[in-house]
């Protein structure tokens, strides 16, 4: 975790924020046989912005990235970088640095030569490219690994070299294709911080593909939630979390408990309490809506005379998550761990809403218990 201590290398242009490119994807369509991987996908990325594409597998997020990189043909739509249409430009000439999910380092080259490869392709002199590659390895904290071959490095180190390699060509756009998904929890967390830090320091326009919402929310300036080849909602993590504009986003982002409610005059009744419906709540129809309750929107107090009781209790560190059975519906509640310590498994409790307002969404059909 101490990579935060890293002194910035005292070298050259690397630490000066370059101006990132503006990227526009407009109405992308890509069809494979009968499947539409992209179905009118549109996204605008500001210069220097970090945008995450988030969605379940098969939602088209990787296809979108590969279209941007030039690896995938487009049936319809426009891709512009700083206003210039690049659809006809081959991957080789797009100047986009890409970090792949699997370890994509060239096995026959050591770390330094891997990083220098892009410079070599740009016909830079040996001395120059070696110096630049060295600087980049320093930037990702791997100066001491320069002569190591990929197979001699850990997964996390390899991905950092891959990052350095992508940055070495001073790309106009940095593309990250689930670069963390093959790593251990701990390494993943650390690399997450490091990527975000570097991206901010270099102010490079970045598109990041992930299926892990935690990753997307914690790293990105804006998150684009995708489904069926389309952008469902593109917004800052906080807005996405608290004000989803489509039922899909409401369901997909964050952990929620669903409680059936009947809205009346912009209010709903929950646990005997009247709560305001959050403005911007979606699809409030007559024939049934659910309140979507985040675990932190709720609290419970011990009350032996209450009917709801605690069925699960799991320690999360600062908070402890309880699952409370209310009228056959399991409700997730996060309490501060010291508060939760007094509540036993099986205890009778009275739930209450602590949020200012609650999110409401059309009632979902009960999903089967098959979790995947």
């Amino acid at each position: 975790m101490t990579e935060l201590h890293d002194a910035a290398p005292t070298v050259s242009s690397l630490t000066r924020p370059t101006t990132g490119a503006r990227v526009n994807l407009e109405g992308l369509v890509r069809t494979y046989g009968l499947t539409r991987a992209l179905d009118g996908f549109t996204l605008a990325v500001e210069p220097g912005e970090f945008v995450a594409l988030l969605g379940p597998s098969g939602c088209g997020k990787t296809t979108a990235l590969r279209v941007l990189a030039g690896f995938e043909r487009l049936d319809r739509g426009r891709v512009t970088v700083d206003g210039v249409d690049v659809v006809k430009v081959s991957a080789q000439h797009r100047d986009m640095g890409m970090v792949f999910q699997s370890y994509s380092l060239f096995p026959n080259m050591n770390a330094l030569n891997n990083v220098a490869f892009g410079l070599r392709m740009r016909h830079q002199r040996a001395l120059q490219r070696r110096q630049k590659a060295g600087e980049l390895l320093e930037l990702v904290g791997l100066s001491d690994q320069a002569t190591k071959y990929p197979h001699q490095m850990s997964g996390g180190q390899q991905q950092r070299v891959a990052l350095a390699r992508a940055l070495a060509i001073e790309p106009r756009v940095l593309l990250l294709d689930e670069p963390l998904s093959a790593l251990d929890a701990k390494v993943r967390g650390e690399l997450r911080d490091q990527i975000r830090q570097l991206q901010q320091r270099l102010a490079i326009t970045t598109v990041f593909v992930t299926h892990d919402q935690e990753e997307a929310l914690s790293m990105a300036d804006r998150v684009c939630v995708m489904s069926n080849g389309r952008a469902e909602q593109t917004a800052t993590p906080a807005v996405l979390y608290s004000r989803p504009t489509t039922p899909f986003v409401a369901e997909f982002v964050g952990v929620s408990s669903r409680v059936p409610v009947t809205p009346l005059d912009g209010e709903v009744e929950l646990f005997g309490q009247r709560c305001r419906v959050r403005s911007g709540s979606v699809g409030v129809t007559v024939d049934g809506v659910d309140a979507l309750l985040r675990p932190e929107d709720l609290t419970v107090t011990a009350d032996p005379s209450a009917l709801p009781f605690v069925t699960h209790k799991s320690f999360l560190g600062a908070t402890t998550r309880l699952v409370v059975q209310v009228d056959e519906v399991p409700i997730r509640v996060d309490l501060r761990s010291d508060v939760a310590a007094d509540i036993e498994l099986g205890a009778r409790v009275r739930p209450a809403v602590v949020a200012r307002d609650v999110l409401v969404a059309p009632r979902a059909p009960r999903r089967e218990s098959t979790t995947d």
Binding site: A69, G70, F71, S90, A91, Q92, H93, R94, D95, M96, G97, M98, F100, S102, Y103, S104, L105, F106, P107, N108, M109, N110, L112, N113, A116, F117, G118, M121, R122, A126, R129, R130, A146, T147, Y149, A162, R165, A166, I169, L175
Partner: protein, 280 residues
């Protein structure tokens, strides 16, 4: 099969550096056992052959059989014919198979099953059937040339060569490597030459060694096609002087092995050099 030869000769028989400590003592014993059994299978015949070739008709030790080899009638021609066939076969095989395998892997991975099927055919079709068919089918000008044999050997070596390349390519994550190279600004030539081929070195060497071994040792096809390659000469000369013939087969075995060791050592020094320099 990809990394067979380099692994084999150098690592398998020495102790791998990364061998976990715990397994070492027991492994050594087992390795010895396996090698002893292998020895019984291979070394005893070779030893017998060696002894026989170093005996004269009276049963005494003598080097005469080895010494007279170069001057025996037909030997030189047979030797050079085999060499020429080996080189032509190897060239055709590599030029044909390397791009094909890379292309199939990269663009049509689903075709690999068809390739699996096609390339196993030479093993499943009896050689005698194959050569008789080839001799009937080939046009006359080709039938008159020893290089018809090269074409047959290309087919015969396909199962080994394709499988070597296939294994080498499968170990690579070719698609990602190629895309990484492309996105870094590499054109197709650079991508192939600097990224793909260097990482196939073991597979290519393995393919080369197996092809050479096959061509230098093949008897059926050559004898049926009536060309006196080295193995055919050895067979024929047995009737003239069994000692000399056996001596030649021993020398040819030695030659093949030296060739293989040389090629493999090229690979080793190459990879060591690569490892030493930081910017090639």
């Amino acid at each position: 099969m990809a990394s067979l030869v380099p692994d084999i000769v150098v690592d398998a028989l020495m102790d791998g550096g990364d061998l976990p400590t715990r397994r070492r003592p027991r492994l050594r014993v087992w390795r010895l056992v396996v090698l002893l059994i292998a020895g019984a299978y291979f070394l005893i015949p070779i030893y017998a052959g060696l002894r026989f070739s170093l005996e004269n008709d009276a049963g005494h030790l003598s080097l005469y059989a080895v010494k007279v080899i170069p001057s025996e009638p037909g030997f030189t021609q047979a030797f050079w014919l085999s060499m020429r066939l080996a080189i032509v076969t190897l060239a055709i095989t590599l030029v044909l198979m390397v791009p094909t395998s890379v292309y199939v892997h990269l663009k049509f991975p689903r075709l690999r099953r068809v390739m699996d099927f096609v390339t196993i055919l030479p093993i499943v079709i009896p050689p005698i059937v194959l050569i008789l068919g080839v001799l009937r089918a080939a046009p006359l000008w080709l039938r008159a040339s020893p290089y018809l044999l090269s074409l047959v050997y290309v087919i015969l070596s396909m199962p080994f060569v394709y499988r070597s390349l296939d294994a080498g390519l499968s170990a690579l994550d070719l698609k990602t490597l190629v895309e990484a190279s492309r996105s870094l600004g590499g054109n197709w030539f650079n991508t192939l030459w600097r990224v793909v081929v260097p990482n196939l070195r073991s597979a290519l060497l393995s393919a080369t060694v197996l092809t050479l071994a096959l061509v230098l040792g093949e008897f059926t096809m050559a004898s049926l096609d009536l060309w006196t390659t080295l193995p055919v000469w050895i067979y024929q000369f047995q009737q003239v002087d069994a000692h000399v013939s056996t001596a030649v087969s021993m020398v040819s075995l030695l030659g093949t092995w030296l060739l293989i060791t040389f090629i493999v050592s090229l690979d080793r020094s190459q990879s060591r050099r690569n490892r030493r320099k930081t910017d090639s």
